[in-house]
Symmetry: C3
Subunit: 204 residues, 3 copies
């Protein structure tokens, strides 16, 4: 079940990433690489930091094919995608919570302390988008956008909290996902923002 | 033989990278770091992703000395290099195919599936340039330039295909390199471009 | 002792990093991530390159709490920090030499050749700031600033040189730190610059 949602999520991430590549006039190679980095980069960064090998896409090279195909499809039907903007925002939110849960679970498997489990969820959910923005030469949206990383942290905390209360794992996952999704979607709908820190002094 | 070409290639990559650093007014430290990242970064990224240690430059620290020396030499003779622009474009193309073959071979040694072998070649050939552009705060040229990553993929595919047909390894390497080089040089000469995906809708 | 200086240094790095985040109007998530990357990123990059696990912040998750707390405090007292600019420049210089020594020691523990030990010190001292600048979408200051990476190299070289002369380790560390600090602080005071390489020809 989580696996199926994972596949849907990487497809959705790859498709929206393709549009970011299009904003920078990239060719098909650029489109594919940006899609890979966005959809698979979060888990890759997590695995590098926690020395957890092999990468999912090395064990399952079909993920590379699926995401590349989805990205090129997105470039072809870009006009249609613009009309389905809302659907993709929902799928992106779904991806965020699914990636977060998977990241938490992997960190639990290798017995990391709970704070690192939470961080692993956030890295898995968010680092792909950060890499995408760095490669597209933009300040990562994550650092400025509405409740995004925060939704990931809340999802992970709910999951860990329910687990701590001995709630069965399946229920913990569903509840944590629903809470995280609700928070993310409400924040999009009402344009919630985290307080920003604006500083203009030059030191150098 | 491949080793000799590798040394020539990292020297050439380091020298052209130094000019990129010069466009950003970097000092000698910046010039050396950009040269290292460009010449040795592709293999380094590959090794990190596939958990293949130690790095070549840890086993052979002389690579760091050679590339740093080449980069500083390039800064000194920058005017001369501009005149030899064509030579360096050729050497860069040579580096691309040599790095690609080496990347494929290393992935084969650790028994990765063929799609990942191809990707390993592309990462080894191209990631150094991507890192250089990120550090120089530019959208990676790779994602937009004439047939570059594509030439790497074709080189790797030719190498793997010939190997599959039981052609002796030495011949496979030479033929794959010639095909890749020809493709890259023709694309420079005739300014071939991959189709670009241009998208201007704002979502956020 | 070195450990105490390390804690002071990561706090100082996290606080100045928060101001960089403020220049890009980041929210609290961005502020924390930039602080983590700046304060802990140098050692993290070093560990990835040399396959040295686990990360310090995985073993000591409290480092994440301390640096995040320091960063948020910095955002709150930003005005006060501007007035204490000099203090933070000194603490940043202290961090540079302390990180450098720690980086050299870790590379020595895993028996890397001396040139790599020096590089390990420089990476530990400087890579955090490079990552910060990449995430803030700027050309890394390190590549252009007054004697910074050079101070790290001199610190590492002094440490290695004294060790080679069989000077007791404690004395080597203190002398190397004093030399590195003096060089860095003098370069700030007199605005020393490394020679820059400026190049304006376009190749593409």
């Amino acid at each position: 079940m989580l696996h199926l949602l994972y596949i849907i999520a990487i497809i959705a991430e790859a498709m929206t990433a393709a549009l970011s590549a299009g904003r920078r006039d990239m060719d098909w190679v650029g489109v594919c690489i940006i899609a890979w980095v966005t959809a698979l980069g979060g888990g890759t960064v997590r695995n590098i930091l926690f020395n957890h090998y092999p990468m999912s896409w090395v064990e399952h090279p079909e993920y590379l094919v699926i995401t590349a195909g989805a990205a090129i499809l997105a470039a072809v039907i870009a006009r249609l995608m613009t009309k389905m903007k809302k659907l993709f925002l929902y799928l992106d939110a779904l991806g965020l919570v699914v990636f977060t849960i998977i990241g938490c679970q992997i960190a639990e498997q290798i017995n990391l302390p709970w704070l690192i489990v939470l961080l692993s969820g956030m890295i898995t959910g968010c680092a792909g988008g950060v890499l995408r923005d760095v490669l597209c030469n933009e300040v990562p949206l994550l650092f400025r956008k509405e409740v995004y990383a925060s939704a990931s942290i809340v999802t992970g905390a709910a999951y860990l909290g329910l687990e701590y209360l001995s709630v069965p794992v399946g229920i913990s996952i569903v509840v944590a996902c629903v809470i995280g999704l609700a928070l993310r979607l409400l924040s999009i709908k009402y344009n919630w923002q985290m307080p920003k820190f604006v500083y203009r002094e030059e030191w150098h």
